[in-house]
């Protein structure tokens, strides 16, 4: 899927926004592999280009969420006095329904890829913070961390040398799940009309346009959905694989 996104200009057969009014709503065939939509645009090329938006949003959200979550989680785990404050704030955000929050945010700030990313980062962050904090809390009781502090290492050094490397494995695994759900929610947002602006093809808004033509042009809905589902499935499987690889103890539990 990553290859498809990178190589989109080479894989697509025609310009994805080129309109051919004479060839509207054609079924899949030799020229237009996935058929054409109501403006005569080639559905296959649009789906190929759509992978760029989905993967970009997924990866950006996963990266930003991991960095912010790591920072806040380590902070909450180490600074005892502020632990409760940070965690109650996170509980509050977690209690908000993520999609409602994202729709509202995008609708009020305007549809753009940047706003979609922000709208997805806010509800995802608390999950990462909770994970990192729980790992940090158990780590700081470990003999090697206590030893480091006893030997006179500063908090900065202890965190950098001993705590961070040990939080990485669960963080990466969690990051892949965040990525998968970001891809799904981005599509849902675009589908509901509160996501990626209509002029940029994304799987969600391709399907939103297709919903009006379900009866006559079912293929317009089928293919982007298949791509979306298989992308999310691969990311989830990647996460499962990484988890089994990095933490055999967790593998039994899931």
């Amino acid at each position: 899927m990553a290859c498809v996104a990178l190589l989109a200009p080479h894989l697509s057969t025609v310009d994805p926004i080129e309109m051919k009014p004479a060839q509207r709503l054609r079924p899949p065939g030799a020229v237009h592999w996935f058929g054409t939509d109501m403006y005569g645009r080639d559905s296959y090329s649009r789906v190929v280009y759509g992978s760029r938006i989905s993967l970009f949003v997924g990866l950006t959200v996963a990266t930003v969420t991991s960095v912010v979550g790591l920072g806040l989680g380590v902070f909450a785990g180490f600074v005892r006095r502020l632990d409760a404050t940070v965690m109650r704030a996170m509980d509050g955000i977690m209690a908000l329904p993520d999609l409602l929050l994202a729709i509202t945010f995008v609708a009020l700030t305007g549809a753009s890829v940047r706003n979609v990313v922000i709208a997805l980062v806010i509800p995802q962050t608390p999950r990462v913070v909770r994970l990192v904090r729980s790992v940090v809390l158990s780590l700081r009781e470990q003999p090697f961390v206590e030893a480091s502090v006893a030997l006179g290492a500063g908090v900065g050094r202890t965190v950098l040398r001993h705590v961070l490397p040990n939080t990485l494995a669960p963080l990466i695994v969690q990051g892949t799940y965040v990525c998968a759900s970001a891809v799904l929610i981005e599509a849902a947002l675009s589908f509901l009309g509160a996501g990626t602006p209509a002029e940029i093809p994304s799987w969600g808004n391709i399907m939103a346009e297709a919903r009006a033509h379900v009866r006559v042009a079912f293929w317009l809905l089928l293919f982007p959905g298949l791509f979306l589902a298989s992308t999310v499935l691969s990311i989830n499987l990647l996460g499962d694989g990484l988890r089994d690889l990095l933490d055999p103890r967790l593998a039994r539990r899931m």
Partner: protein
Amino acid sequence: MVAYVVRRVLAVFPVMAVVVPFVFVLLRLAPGDPAAIIAGDYATPEAIAKIRTALGLDQPIHVQLGVYVASLARGDLGRSLHSRLPVSTLIAQRLEPTVALAVATLVFAVGLAVPLGVLAAWRAGTWVDRAVMVFAVGGFSIPVFWLGFLMIYGFSVRLDLLPVQGYAPLADGFGPFARHLLLPTVTLGLIYMALITRITRASVLEVLDADYVRTAHAKGQQPGRILFTHALKNAAVPIVTTIGVGLTLLISGVVITESVFALPGLGRLTADAVLQRDYSIIQGVTILSSAVYVLVNLLVDLCYLVLDPRIRY
């Protein structure tokens, strides 16, 4: 134990104390002046200012927040900026389809997912287990709205078995009500099921290793009884937790499903309110659904006391 229950109930307040100001400030920071929208395109600046004063929008934001929290405490969610109807009335009008869909989904998903998960754990490593897990991982990866349209296309357009979209209130008879709700429930339920099946399998699998399960086998207890009384009962805590935490997934899913199947519920109310920048409604619905989430998770925590007598904080 009474002390724990009291403490746990009180813990609801700090969470809501974060939710309410967060939603309030987020909505106020967004661009777009509701007073100008209500006044219309040709309004004079004086008219807009008058509306703003009437709505209290000219007050500093912390004063507005204070007024809002005070009325929340009295159970008043405010009035719609547009129709001037109380938000609680608007929500009450749209509540039935949403609650019906959520409850039906919950019953459908939990009712199928728990036995499936137990089955997979019992037959761990066989093709039955693998099939259930493929379903569980797959179900988690399929977009709800896409699945919804596949269902509509297959069952309503092609086979013509069920109504395409829309909603029939329960008051008009159970038949049409159930027929309209069936596809949305199955659509949303499959996603939620995937999550619960996975966690059920995992926690039952862990319990099956325990000594008391081996003892039960040794004394010749029937496998069915072992699975459901010994294993499932002891595996219940993580399953119930997941059902509670998964509620955000369910709420988001309800919004999407309502849109796909054109159900006139809370999701639609919110979507319309967002377009009109009707802050009071968005605020009301968001705070209400957060409150439901917090309360359900409170119930989940209190369930632990019943499910696992060892938990005695």
